[in-house]
C-alpha cells in the first residue's frame, strides 16, 4: 500500500466490542508501545482519518453508524479490524443482534450501497496484544509480510 508512505491517522470505532480491544488500542498509544513514534495518531473525527480501526462484531444497531463513519473517511482509506469479533464474528458470529463480522458488513456495503471493499487488514486475537496490533498496522503499511497462509493437509 504505497499510498501510505507517511504518518497515518486513525479513527477508532467501537461497533459493539467488549472494551478489551479498545483498551488495548489505547494501550498502544500510551508510553510502553507509543505508536506516535510511527506518526500514528488517534483522531476524533473520521473525516481527519486515513484508517478506521474497527472493534466488535458490528451489532445491528451500530451498523448505520459504521457505514456513515466508513463513508466519511476520505479516499484512499484503510480498514484495520482489531480482534476476533470483527475478523470473523467471534463468539457472536450467528446471534440475532450482530452482523457477525466484517465480511458480512462488506457484503451489505456491496449489495445495498454498491461500495467496493476497502483495503483491509485483520488482526485476530481476543484481545490482540498491543504488539499484535502494531504488527497489523505494519502489515497494512507494507513493512512486514503476512506470516501465515491457509494450509491444507490430507492424511490417511
Amino acid at each position: 500500500m504505497s499510498v501510505y508512505r507517511r504518518s497515518i491517522w486513525v479513527f477508532h470505532l467501537n461497533t459493539g466490542s467488549c472494551n478489551a480491544c479498545d483498551i488495548e488500542i489505547l494501550d498502544v498509544l500510551t508510553p510502553y508501545h507509543d505508536v506516535e513514534r510511527f506518526g500514528i495518531k488517534l483522531v476524533a473525527s473520521p473525516r481527519h482519518a486515513d484508517a478506521l480501526l474497527l472493534t466488535g462484531p458490528i451489532t445491528k444497531e451500530s451498523l448505520p453508524k459504521v457505514i456513515d463513519a466508513l463513508l466519511a473517511v476520505p479516499e484512499p482509506k484503510l480498514v484495520i479490524a482489531i480482534g476476533s469479533c470483527t475478523c470473523g464474528g467471534g463468539i457472536w458470529y450467528d446471534t440475532y443482534s450482530t452482523l457477525g463480522g466484517l465480511n458480512e458488513l462488506y457484503r451489505v456495503l456491496k449489495e445495498e450501497y454498491g461500495i467496493p471493499e476497502p483495503p483491509t487488514v485483520k488482526v485476530p486475537g481476543c484481545p490482540p496484544r498491543p504488539e499484535a496490533i502494531i504488527y497489523g498496522v505494519a502489515l497494512a503499511l507494507g513493512i512486514v509480510k503476512q506470516k501465515y497462509s491457509t494450509t491444507k493437509v490430507r492424511v490417511e
Binding site: H12, L13, N14, T15, G16, S17, C18, N19, A20, C21, D22, I23, E24, L26, D27, T30, P31, Y32, A44, S45, P46, R47, G56, P57, T59, K60, E61, S62, P64, K65, D68, A69, A72, G90, I91, W92, D94, T95, Y96, S97, T98, C126, P127, R129
Partner: protein, 550 residues
C-alpha cells in the same frame, strides 16, 4: 440462615407461600397481589437494597412465567429473592418502581424481552425493543431462536427536535471522542447548566444471555461471560461460575478460590488505574493519563503471567480454575506489585496536588446518600456517597474471608470522593494480594465430579471494580443453562446520573459521566436493537449517527 428465614416470617407473616434456602440467599414465593406490600416490608422493614429484577420463561419448568425481585440485605449478609408466578397466557404484575426507583429499567426490560406486562409503571416507554419490532415477539422467550433475525418494519420514525425557548438538547455520543464506547446521552441544557439527561444506550448488545441459554454448554458460558466486558470480564466469569456452583452445590477447592481472588484483585488494580488515567484524560490532563497507563502496564504483564492472557483471562470453569500459579510467578507478582505501589504512591500524591484537578473534582456531580439508596447504586459510586456496601464483605465469596481489608467510604458525595474511593481501593487490593499469597494453600484446583443437576437456582454476587455484579442461573437439561441473567454494576449506576448531572455545569458533564466508570458493554448485554425514543421525540438511527458523529 435460620435467622434470616425467621426474620422474614416475622416481617412478612403469612404472605410467604413457601421459602427455599439456597446458597447465598433465600427464595420466597408470594402471591402477585401481595408483591408490592412484600417489597415494602423488605425495603422499609429490613433495609433491603434493590439489586435486580429477573424474568424467567418458566413454561418449561412449571408452566408459568416467573418474575423474581432480588434485594440485598447487607446487614443479614444475604440476598432475598421474591418470586411471583404468573399465568402463562397473560402474564401481568404490579409495578414496584413507584416505591423502588432503581427497578425502573429492570421492570421495563422484563416487559420488553419476556412480554410480562407491568401495571402502573410510571415510565412505561419501551426501553429495549426498537420501533418496528414485531409485536408479540419476545427474544428471551423459549420459542424464540437465538439466531432468529426478525425483520423490522419501518425502523425509526420522524425526527422531531425538541423545541423550547430555553432548554436545548445537546447530544453526547454515540461516538464521542471521550467515550470509547458507543452510547448516547442527551443532555438538556439551559444556558450552561444541565437540567436533565436522557440516556439511550444499548448499542453493544450482542445477545449474550440468549446465546448462553441456547448454543452453549455450561462450561462454554464462562468464556462468553468474560466477554460481556473486556475490562472487568473476570468478574462476570467468576460470578457465573459461582452461580452455577451454588445451584449445583459444588464445593470448589480452596486453592482455586485463592487464585480467583488473586486474579480478581489484579483485575481491580488494572481497572482502577485505567479509570484514573481516563479521568485525567477527561479533565484534559494528559500527563496524568500517560503516567497512569505507564504504571498500569506492569499490572497487565502480571495478569498475563498469572493467567496466560493480558485480558479475558479464561482460567475459570465451573468447579474451579484451569491454570495453577507457580512459585516463580508468585515471586514476580510480589516484586512487581511492590514497584507498582511505589510508583502509584507518587502518582496519587502528585495528582491530588494539582490544583486544577482538585477544583474540577470537588463539589461536582453530587449524589446524595438518600438517592443513592433509592437507585440502589453500587461500588465506588455508592461508597463515594457514604454507603458502606461491598460484596466482598457483605456476601463473602472466593477467598475474601481470609483477608482483612478496609472498605473505603467517603461521604462528600461528589466526583472527588468517588476518585478517592478508587485510589484507596488500589492500596487495599495490593494488600489483599500480599495476604493471599502468604496464605495460599496447596491442593487441587478443580473439583472432582462436577455434575450439574437440572432446574436448580443459583445466585451469586461479585464485587467488580465498578460495583456489585450479580448473576442468576437456572440450570437446564443436557449440560445447558436454562436461564442466565446478568446484572452488571453500571446497570444500576447509570440511572443515577440523572441526579448527579442535575444543575451541573455543562463542562463538568463528561467528568461526571466518567466518574461512575460506566461500562456500557456490561450494561447492554441484553438489549436488542436501538432506536432512540426520547421523551418528546424519536430519532432514527441514521439521523442519530449524523448528529452524534462530530
Amino acid at each position: 440462615m435460620v435467622d434470616v428465614v425467621k426474620t422474614l416470617y416475622e416481617v412478612l407473616g403469612g404472605k410467604i407461600l413457601r421459602h427455599e434456602v439456597i446458597r447465598d440467599g433465600v427464595v420466597i414465593d408470594v402471591r402477585p397481589e401481595d408483591l408490592v406490600s412484600v417489597v415494602k416490608g423488605i425495603t422499609e422493614g429490613l433495609g433491603g437494597i434493590y439489586t435486580v429484577v429477573v424474568g424467567v420463561d418458566g413454561r418449561g419448568i412449571d408452566n408459568t412465567y416467573h418474575s423474581i425481585y432480588v434485594f440485598s440485605l447487607d446487614e443479614l449478609k444475604t440476598y432475598v429473592l421474591i418470586r411471583v408466578r404468573l399465568s402463562p397466557e397473560d402474564p401481568k404484575v404490579e409495578s414496584i418502581t413507584p416505591i423502588v426507583k432503581g427497578a425502573n429499567w429492570g421492570e421495563r426490560e422484563v416487559r420488553d424481552l419476556l412480554g410480562i406486562e407491568v401495571l402502573g409503571h410510571p415510565d412505561p416507554r419501551t426501553l429495549i425493543l426498537p420501533d418496528g419490532w414485531p409485536s408479540n415477539t419476545y427474544p428471551l422467550r423459549k420459542d424464540f431462536s437465538y439466531c432468529e433475525r426478525p425483520r423490522l418494519d419501518n425502523p425509526g420514525s420522524n425526527y422531531v427536535p425538541q423545541r423550547s425557548e430555553e432548554v436545548v438538547a445537546l447530544p453526547y455520543g454515540p461516538y464521542h471522542p471521550l467515550l470509547h464506547e458507543p452510547e448516547y446521552f442527551e443532555l438538556h441544557v439551559k444556558g450552561e447548566t444541565v437540567v436533565d439527561v436522557e440516556y439511550r444506550g444499548f448499542h453493544v448488545h450482542r445477545g449474550i444471555e440468549k446465546l448462553g441459554e441456547s448454543r452453549l454448554t455450561y462450561n462454554q458460558v464462562p468464556f462468553v461471560a468474560e466477554r460481556i466486558c473486556g475490562i472487568c470480564g473476570f468478574v462476570h466469569n467468576v460470578c457465573y461460575c459461582q452461580a452455577v456452583e451454588n445451584a449445583a452445590g459444588i464445593e470448589v477447592p480452596e486453592r482455586a478460590l485463592y487464585i480467583r481472588s488473586l486474579v480478581l484483585e489484579v483485575e481491580r488494580i488494572h481497572s482502577h488505574l485505567l479509570w484514573l488515567g481516563v479521568a485525567c484524560h477527561v479533565l484534559g490532563f494528559d500527563t496524568g493519563f500517560m503516567h497512569a497507563w505507564r504504571i498500569r502496564e506492569p499490572v497487565m504483564y502480571l495478569a498475563e503471567l498469572l493467567t496466560g492472557s493480558r485480558k479475558t483471562y479464561g482460567i475459570n470453569l465451573v468447579g474451579g480454575v484451569r491454570r495453577d500459579v507457580n512459585r516463580d510467578s508468585i515471586e514476580k507478582v510480589v516484586k512487581i506489585l511492590k514497584k507498582v505501589k511505589e510508583e502509584y504512591d507518587h502518582f496519587v500524591k502528585s495528582l491530588t496536588s494539582v490544583k486544577e484537578v482538585v477544583k474540577r473534582l470537588e463539589g461536582s456531580g453530587i449524589l446524595p446518600k438518600s438517592e443513592a439508596i433509592s437507585y440502589g447504586v453500587v461500588g465506588p459510586t455508592a461508597r463515594g456517597s457514604g454507603l458502606k456496601r461491598d460484596v466482598r464483605v457483605d456476601h463473602p465469596y472466593a477467598a475474601y474471608k481470609e483477608a482483612s481489608f478496609r472498605v473505603p467510604v467517603y461521604s462528600e458525595c461528589d466526583n472527588m470522593s468517588r476518585l478517592l474511593v478508587r485510589v484507596d481501593e488500589v492500596y487495599e487490593s495490593i494488600s489483599i494480594i500480599d495476604q493471599l499469597i502468604d496464605k495460599l494453600p496447596s491442593g487441587p484446583i478443580m473439583a472432582e465430579d462436577v455434575e450439574v443437576p437440572e432446574f436448580r437456582e443459583g445466585f451469586s454476587g461479585v464485587e467488580a471494580p465498578r460495583g456489585e455484579d450479580v448473576h442468576y442461573v437456572i440450570t437446564g437439561r443436557f449440560s445447558k443453562v436454562y436461564r442466565w441473567k446478568v446484572r452488571a454494576p453500571s446497570y444500576n449506576n447509570i440511572p443515577a446520573l440523572k441526579v448527579m448531572l442535575h444543575e451541573c455545569p455543562l463542562s463538568d458533564a463528561p467528568l461526571t459521566i466518567a466518574s461512575i466508570d460506566p461500562c456500557f458493554s456490561c450494561t447492554d448485554r441484553l438489549v436488542v436493537v436501538d432506536v432512540l425514543t426520547g421523551r418528546k421525540f424519536r430519532v432514527d438511527l441514521r439521523t442519530l449517527a449524523r448528529r452524534g458523529k462530530l
